[in-house]
Symmetry: C2
Subunit: 118 residues, 2 copies
DNA sequence: ACCGTACATCGATATTCGTCGAACATCGAA
DNA sequence: TTCGATGTTCGACGAATATCGATGTACGGT
């Protein structure tokens, strides 16, 4: 794991990039985990795909300015970037509320307990 | 042109599909045109790509439940679907406001008056 | 009846994206 | 220093997407 991960200035990220980052079911499940505004260890994100794929989606969210990744030892903690929430308040609060609800409707937190991979 | 175009029930459209439909610069320019909540003739959407490509993006928005397409003679009028705006109020109002602002920032309505196609 | 207009749809192509498994990097522990 | 754990990065592959030009379809005008 590199010592540090790239975190772009949110002001460099256009809206279409943010929305496109959010327009994926796996990444929306990740956002649903983060919807409580807490920092979560990577193990919390059991979203139904393999580890390298989770990494890929994590990177997409991070490079869209949505998440912050803090490395501590061999582990990684993820949280929402408040600056970005403040930049698109309605959009992002709405997405967080909605995807949290949909995750519940779709069968509980992390929505992949059954392991329906594909 | 067919007599009528497919308009899905917005409740069948999951959030990730809506966001993914919005996550494209061309479609965001289309939304910017519609942000005034008026019905617009197709000619209003000079968004910098060819006619068939505009059709493609229009279809994407329509099938995400975002727009309504009314055919009148050989012409077509496009408007936002209020039912969908009501379903995701914060998200969509926020997107509309933001993309309208960004369109202005990017060089005026329709953002393609110069015809920089490519 | 014919032709032009306006737009949708089709077919082709190039690019992007989601996914996996393998390889790599960093840290903590033995 | 060696080993295992954690998570990122790389390489490959199929699926989806953005784009165009050509074709198709319905309508309005002549």
């Amino acid at each position: 794991m590199p010592r540090e991960l790239r975190h772009p200035d949110p002001r460099d990220v256009p809206l279409d990039r943010v929305l496109s980052a959010l327009g994926d079911p796996v990444r929306l499940r990740i956002m649903a985990v983060l919807a409580d505004r807490e920092e979560h260890p990577r193990e919390d994100f059991e979203v139904g795909v393999g580890p390298s794929t989770v990494s890929h989606h994590m990177r997409t969210l991070r490079e869209a300015g949505l998440t912050r990744h803090r490395l501590e030892g061999t582990r990684c903690f993820v949280s929402l970037r408040k600056e970005t929430l403040r930049r698109y308040p309605d959009v992002l609060e709405g997405v967080l509320r909605t995807c949290a609800q949909e995750a519940v409707a779709a069968g509980g937190p992390a929505a992949g307990s059954g392991g329906e991979r594909g």
